[in-house]
């Protein structure tokens, strides 16, 4: 765990002696504040004033646990993990171990679950040494040979030439029987020849499962960081590439953000440094109006505090927006039950001004529907731009309202569009799992479904409101969706709202 102390972070790059303080056996117990001014409590020592940091880097190492039990094996001097055999082979003299020429060593790599290239690499390197230098017969049992890393295909060929035997499994796995001396009888049906084989392994090497450090769970809670399903503190979202988390100023590197080979660690460090430099220069702060909470109207229900995906709202005596961390997604403003939050350019008045109906080009022509499309600016907005550049055509009376995130599209927006004589309204969001604010598109979907219900109740065809997901590079789909919707609404005819419905 390392943190950037504020003096070092703000110090001149040319300072030859940056402040560097190392605290061992220390855990984080609490964190408040936001980028540029994080207040972090350590333990031990307890009870002292918190330390202030501009930015925080989480670089916890991962965990490895040998998969003995998954193969029904128990560890003994001749049944060992991949890290153990690597240690034996790298600490001379290796002969102190019971490894002797003529023995058979069998490696299991990615049999219990899919493995990783760096694990295969370690197994291949060990086999090569055992086979070529120490005269053992070696075998690697695997499902999919993970050669997807630099030099591994070449290394694979080299080990095969040296006599390493590979057996690959697709469905049926081998069975293992370990005897009292630690020898293992391995029986399997060979995938290629469909013949039964048995091998007696004098030495059995088992690979290790790779998992996140258990401490990440605490850190995720303390720093309010989204985790991926495996427990790494970076969600599986392309907007977090490479070392970003959902919180501004908190970065996750190496085995804190996923399974990375040791060969990538250097790149991780450098990517982290370059990202920190940009953060310190303020280059990564989103520009534009930020969320503001009207203290008088706020009822302190804390909806915004719980909802903010960036954790940009802090609690004082009442919720307060940390402006630098606000990404303008507008989720808080859209969900606030007291309507106490506003982002100036996303206020309903500002949106309404952008909803002026587009007149028909030809009044004598048959009905041309007026359509409004609310577009998330990171996905559909860019797809529209790309479609324009590609020369694709759009419905004649399509009005586009770009918003920073579809999470800001409130029921009010949608109703305003209908009030401004829209015959149909599109809500275009990114795909689930692609939202920069993690859950904005899910909120938009929920609200759209809710409003469709309401429309039905007041006698408006709910199909006049449509939500579609688009990626920023889906220009053809943008144009296709808009054209299809125009056709559908043209067939449905103009929307006539009576006074009762207007209310």
């Amino acid at each position: 765990m390392q943190a950037t102390p504020e003096p070092a972070a703000s110090a001149d790059m040319d300072d030859p002696s940056p402040l560097f303080e190392v605290r061992t056996e220390t855990r984080i117990s609490h964190c408040s504040g936001s980028a540029g001014n994080f207040q972090v409590m350590l333990s031990p020592p307890h009870g002292i004033p918190p330390l202030t940091f501009a930015n925080i880097v989480i670089a916890e190492d991962g965990m490895q646990s040998p998969l003995f039990s998954l193969y029904g094996l128990s560890a003994c001097p001749t049944v060992l993990s991949l890290s153990e055999i690597q240690k034996v082979l790298s600490s001379p003299p290796a002969s102190e171990h019971t490894l002797t020429s003529g023995q058979t060593a069998v490696f299991m790599v990615g049999l219990a679950g899919e493995s990783y290239p760096h694990v295969l690499e370690a197994a291949m390197a060990s086999c090569l040494k055992l086979q070529a230098e120490m005269g053992l017969k070696t075998m690697i049992l695997t499902r999919n040979l993970k050669v997807g890393a630099p030099g591994l295909e070449a290394l694979y060929r080299k080990t095969r030439d040296a006599g390493v035997v590979y057996v690959k499994f697709s469905d049926a796995l081998p069975t293992f029987q370990q005897d009292a001396e630690g020898k293992v009888l391995i029986a399997f049906l060979d995938d290629i020849t469909q013949m039964p084989f048995t091998v007696i392994a004098d030495v059995t090497v088992v690979d290790e499962a790779v998992a996140p450090s258990p401490y990440l769970k605490d850190l995720s809670r303390i720093f309010c960081l989204d985790s991926d399903p495996a427990g790494y503190i970076q969600s599986d979202n392309v907007h977090r590439l490479s070392v970003f988390t959902n919180r501004k100023g908190i970065l996750a590197a190496g085995a804190s953000r996923g399974v990375l080979p040791p060969s990538a660690w250097q790149a991780e460090v450098q990517e982290t440094v370059i990202t920190l430099l940009s953060l310190i220069k303020g280059e990564l702060t989103s520009r534009g109006n930020k969320a503001e909470i009207d203290a008088g109207a706020c009822v302190r229900c804390l909806t915004c505090f719980r909802l903010c995906p960036y954790h940009a709202i802090t609690l004082n005596t009442r919720p307060v927006v940390m402006t630098d961390a606000c990404e303008r997604c507008g989720m808080c403003a859209a969900e606030c039950p007291a309507k106490a939050i506003r982002i100036d350019d996303l206020r309903i008045q500002a949106i309404s001004e952008r909803l002026q109906p587009i007149p028909c080009r030809d009044n004598n022509a048959s009905f041309t529907p007026f359509l409004v499309a609310f577009c998330c600016s990171r996905s559909a907005g860019r797809a529209k731009e790309l479609a324009t550049l590609s020369g694709l055509s759009f419905p004649e009376r399509l009005s586009i309202v770009e918003v920073p995130c579809s999470g800001s599209i409130s029921a009010e927006y949608l109703l305003a569009a209908f009030r401004h004589q829209a015959d149909g309204v599109l809500v275009l969001t990114c795909h689930e799992g692609n939202c920069h604010s993690e859950r904005g598109n899910i909120l938009a979907r929920r609200r759209t479904a809710h409003l469709k219900n309401m429309l039905k109740q007041i006698g408006i065809d709910p199909d006049r409101l449509l939500l579609k997901t688009l990626a920023s590079n889906m220009a053809a789909e943008f144009a296709g969706t808009a054209a299809q919707f125009e056709k559908q609404i043209a067939e449905a005819g103009p929307l006539r709202i009576n006074k009762l419905q207007r209310q």
């Binding site: 899919e114 070449a154 450098q270 860019r382």
Partner: protein, 340 residues
């Protein structure tokens, strides 16, 4: 103000250029084609219901950011004609027959990869219209938002994906796994299945490589949706009714089998690009044939850096990381050089 040259406007070049420009370094970005984004900008979104984190959409954002960044000067249809090393690098650039000379403090090779040309493989590429490369399939889906057969514009009822075309191939001397093709093909197959329900996909492979953060789950799920055959087909022939017949050794039945498909997709590998080679020659870098098969990185002269698929096959996410590393190296180089 320090100035650097970035050769290549793909995802790596754009990422590194942005990283450095934000730190106040002037960047001249030369791209030999007419638009930014490189191969990544030709790829289609492969989301089914959910995003599969292929990263293809990231390039749209990077292009936009680079175009709006004052410290980046973008030269399209441009290439490096000559580089001479003096106190700094004296570079002659050629843009649409126009020659211009610039001086830069460092050079970043972000010149990407060249897709393998499968014409000489026994899969009928170039002879049968419905045999396409994976890249062509991406372009088609991106252009028209659907996949149909080039010969008759009908939706395919079934498709075969053949992996490792030009990769892991000792007869070609290509002793490398291209790494990104398994993910591209399987995500593509499921994306098409989602858009065009009922399409049956068959995946011919040697080993499935990891892709994405949730690979284990995604792969387990994919095995239920896509027929996986651990075999590389021997050849592809056209049938009388304009379909494609594949023969392959089937590991399940231990016999040669034939199967007929509406379309065949060749997952073509990555190879070092011509511009990387040219640049290496100008800078006296020993590429020793094909750098892709190497374990160790290419040794680069002082002031010259490399990022992305110019070094080895990389996914979009890995290219962004590689660009960050290169940007950090360059920034450090410029800072230390200025002190001397």
């Amino acid at each position: 103000m320090k100035q650097i040259l970035v050769v290549g406007g793909g995802i790596s070049g754009l990422s590194a250029a942005l990283d450095l420009a934000r730190l106040g370094v002037a960047v001249v970005l030369v791209e030999n084609s007419a638009s930014l984004g490189g191969h990544a900008a030709q790829l289609s979104c492969k989301a089914a219901e959910r995003c599969v984190a292929c990263g293809a959409c990231m390039v749209t954002e990077k292009i936009r950011q680079a175009a709006g960044e004052a410290n980046i000067r973008i030269l399209l249809n441009a290439g490096v004609d000559k580089i001479e090393r003096g106190k700094c690098f004296e570079v002659t650039l050629k843009q649409d027959q126009q020659i211009q000379r610039i001086e830069v403090d460092a050079v970043l090779m972000a010149s990407g990869f060249a897709p393998f040309d499968p014409t000489n493989k026994p899969y009928g590429y170039g002879r049968f219209e419905n045999v396409m490369t994976s890249l062509e399939l991406d372009r088609m889906l991106r252009r028209i938002g659907a996949v149909n057969r080039p010969s008759d514009a009908k939706l395919p009822r079934n498709m075969a994906f053949i992996q490792c075309v030009g990769s892991r191939d000792s007869t070609l001397g290509h002793l490398w796994c291209s790494k990104i093709c398994c993910g591209a093909a399987l995500r593509m197959a499921r994306c098409i299945q989602n858009r065009q329900p009922g399409m049956e996909a068959t995946f011919f492979y040697i080993d499935v490589q990891n892709f994405g953060k949730n690979f284990q789950t995604y792969y387990a799920d994919t095995r239920q949706q896509v027929r996986m055959i651990r075999s590389i087909p021997a050849d592809v022939l056209k049938t009388a009714d304009d379909r494609l017949k594949l023969s392959y050794f089937d590991p399940d039945t231990q016999a040669y089998q034939e199967a007929v498909f509406d379309m065949v997709i060749l997952s073509i590998g990555l190879t070092p690009s011509e511009s990387t080679r040219n640049l290496a020659a100008m800078l006296n870098i020993d590429m020793d044939g094909l750098a892709y098969a190497r374990k160790t990185p290419i040794l680069l002269p002082n002031g010259v850096f490399a990022a992305g698929a110019a070094i080895e096959p990389m996914s979009i996410a890995e290219s962004v990381l590689s660009a960050g590393k290169a940007a950090c190296d360059i920034f450090h180089y410029l800072e230390t050089a200025s002190r001397i």
